[in-house]
């Protein structure tokens, strides 16, 4: 097999192929590394690429071969630009000076600081319901696995949208409850699934998301939440991609859909619009008290870093006020601008959020396309099977409020140039 054939072979592989090998040896590790090494040797390895400064709309990255590339960034979840906002950084620095680097313990034991309580209180108040409390987690992933696995147990039911994030799926597996899935955003199928179980005598948790990041579409909350409640289910909405961005006050898609008061658990992530790291559950105080002790990902993890917590408090303050209102307007305007430049030229799906998919189709294009985009000035996220259907591989552009019109235009120009080269222009 010559080098070219070998490379084409490597391009055909998708990550699910290295998941597990039958047999006693762990051949999946050998084969995965063979694949990774081949991509690195071809100088096409764009994953895990180190960024050299903050996640601004213009970034620099360092490739494995030592190349430094200047890129327009559409790969970051820093939707409102708070990860580098001067007031957020100052607030983090102040907290760092007072509390030191780490929390050095579980939040239930010694790891809770007063600024954690301040953040919890402000988040609860943000949702304007007296009965609500907040539980903080050191990651969004930890929030979902911790909450789902603490709330549900053997014999219970966790019902998931088929496009659910891995953290919800893993939480459901960890809970040992019965896992059922309904077709993505399909309320009729959800009802069919609910009817299959003895819902009157069962504990059921229905998990959905505000925005699904593969297509950038909204969760069908206005239909799904009432149906789930009709069957006596508890409803969890993961607003990872939508907190501070969707809804008139930034309270997420549940607010925008008018079902916020019917939702039992809101999951938030601080690594996206907040610009930091961590996660939270916002729910009735009694439930929060229980989760604080029984969510093992919280109990057995260190509390969020104090410096980060200080920054998050400022992000929330900004995002829930006039600054947030302006940025929410701006991000929608920017997304509309990018869509208008791509629509009818490439397949961007039908969603209307700040996550814009550009479908290029074949899995085997992923590695060369990703490399091409980086070398032509674009930092962007690519996604392929099994995360999305076969031949529906896609680029995902995460638009932020901080992109300038020029950056959006340049980004669109690079994307269309790539579409021409890799034959996924619509009129081709």
């Amino acid at each position: 097999m010559n080098e070219k054939d070998k490379l084409e072979d490597i391009f055909e592989y998708t990550l699910d192929m290295f998941l597990k090998s039958a047999g006693k040896d762990h051949a999946e590790i050998t084969q995965f590394n063979r694949w990774r090494d081949a991509v690195v040797d071809a100088n096409m390895y764009t994953f895990e690429v180190p960024h050299l400064h903050a996640q601004t709309p213009q970034v620099q990255v360092l490739r494995e071969n030592g190349e430094i590339l200047d890129l327009i960034c559409f790969a970051s979840y820093n939707y409102l630009g708070y990860s580098y906002h001067p007031e957020v950084i100052q607030s983090a620095k102040n907290a760092l000076d007072i509390y030191g680097l780490g929390a050095t313990g579980s939040p239930v034991l010694n790891g809770t600081f007063d600024i954690h309580n301040i953040l919890e209180k402000k988040l609860s108040e943000f949702f304007k319901r007296e009965s609500l409390g907040t539980s903080l987690f050191s990651s969004g992933y930890g929030a979902n696995i911790g909450v789902v696995s603490a709330y549900c147990h053997k014999g219970d039911y966790v019902i998931l949208d088929r496009s659910s994030h891995a953290s919800l799926i893993d939480g459901a597996i960890l809970s040992q409850a019965n896992i059922l899935m309904f077709k993505h955003n399909n309320v009729e199928h959800l009802e069919k699934v609910l009817n299959k179980i003895d819902y009157e005598n069962s504990r059921i948790l229905v998990c959905v998301e505000g925005v699904y990041s593969t297509d950038g579409n909204y969760g069908n909350l206005s239909e799904i939440v009432p149906v789930a409640k009709k069957y006596g289910a508890t409803v969890l909405v993961d607003e990872a991609h939508s907190l501070l961005v969707a809804g008139p006050g930034g309270r997420g898609v549940a607010e925008e859909c008018g079902v916020l008061d019917e939702v039992d658990m809101i999951i938030g992530t601080f690594s996206k619009s907040f610009g930091g790291v961590g996660g939270c559950l916002i729910a009735d105080k009694e439930l929060v008290n229980y989760i604080n002790y029984y969510a093992r990902s919280r109990m057995f993890s260190c509390a969020i870093d104090p410096g980060v917590t200080g920054g998050l408090i400022k992000s929330l303050e900004l995002g829930s006020g006039p600054d947030g209102d302006q940025k929410r307007e701006k991000i929608k305007e920017n997304a509309k601008h990018l869509r208008s430049l791509l629509r009818d030229k490439v397949d961007i799906g039908t969603a209307h959020s700040w996550i814009i998919p550009v479908i290029y189709g074949e899995e085997k294009l992923t590695i060369p396309l990703s490399d091409y985009l980086q070398h032509h000035g674009l930092d962007i996220s690519l996604m392929m099977f099994p995360a999305v259907p076969k031949n529906r591989s896609r680029i995902r552009a995460f638009v932020t409020s901080e992109h300038s019109p020029e950056q959006i235009e340049k980004g669109a120009h690079i994307l269309l140039k790539a579409a021409k080269k890799f034959n996924f222009l619509l009129d081709d």
């Binding site: 192929m17 051949a27 059922l180």
Partner: protein
């Protein structure tokens, strides 16, 4: 790419329709040997594969043209041999040719069931309808509304089978112009039948996961290696 024993037979076909269906993983788990593990599409959702071939006249030297239907569970592959597109534990095999069934049982250690009594294949529209003495088995059709392009490819698969307590593995290569898709839609019907023993297929929730069809009129080749002991 693979480490097989080099002892293989080449089977020439002019029709192939393969469909992966989602089924209850718990049911499927009980049908595979303990040395193997299911590959799930999602928690609790296992995959079965049903493939129909039309083999052209002259296989094994003198066989007439015949059709084959094979049912497998999708399992984790043996990656020490190479990286296949999929690995299958074969659950049932039927055919319109008794000699082929006898050969499959002896040479490939495949679990054969009784001979097909009726089979129809629509090579243009990618549709099959198979029946045996126990009744209808399956009516399967391609559900993609549009076929954009057939890509000539050589796919590597692994086929596991069992004899007594022992598990065997074969390398299988398929070469043909293929179209693969994950469109949802009407793929026909699977019937309650001994061919599907242990799997509830007569359920509206048995949905298709993936389909692959060959280009009408094109010649395809299946290179199927003699099984060797796995563990």
């Amino acid at each position: 790419m693979t480490s097989n024993n080099g002892d293989c037979l080449v089977w020439n076909f002019d029709f192939a329709l393969t469909t992966f269906y989602e089924v209850d993983a718990f049911q499927l788990e009980s049908l595979i040997p303990p040395q193997l593990s299911l590959q799930e599409a999602a928690p609790g959702i296992g995959l079965i594969n049903i493939t129909a071939f039309n083999f052209v006249k002259g296989q094994l030297g003198a066989l007439p043209e015949f059709q084959e239907l094979i049912l497998s569970a999708i399992v984790s592959p043996d990656l020490s041999r190479g990286v296949p597109s999929a690995a299958m534990f074969v659950l049932s095999l039927t055919s319109t040719c008794q000699e082929h069934l006898d050969h499959s049982q002896d040479y490939y250690k495949l679990p054969v069931v009784e001979l097909l009594t009726e089979s129809s294949i629509d090579k243009i529209n990618h549709e099959i309808n198979f029946v045996d003495g126990n009744g209808k088995i399956a009516q399967i059709k391609n559900c993609a509304p549009v076929i954009n392009e057939y890509n000539y490819s050589k796919r590597y698969f692994q086929a596991f089978t069992k004899e007594g307590e022992h598990v065997f593995i074969s390398d299988v290569f398929i070469e043909a112009p293929l179209f693969e898709h994950q469109e949802s839609g009407d793929t026909g019907k699977l019937y309650e039948h001994p061919f599907f023993k242990g799997i509830e297929v007569d359920d509206s929730d048995v949905t298709n996961f993936l389909q692959m069809v060959n280009e009408p009129g094109s010649a395809g080749k299946q290179t199927y290696f003699k099984p060797t002991k796995f563990i």
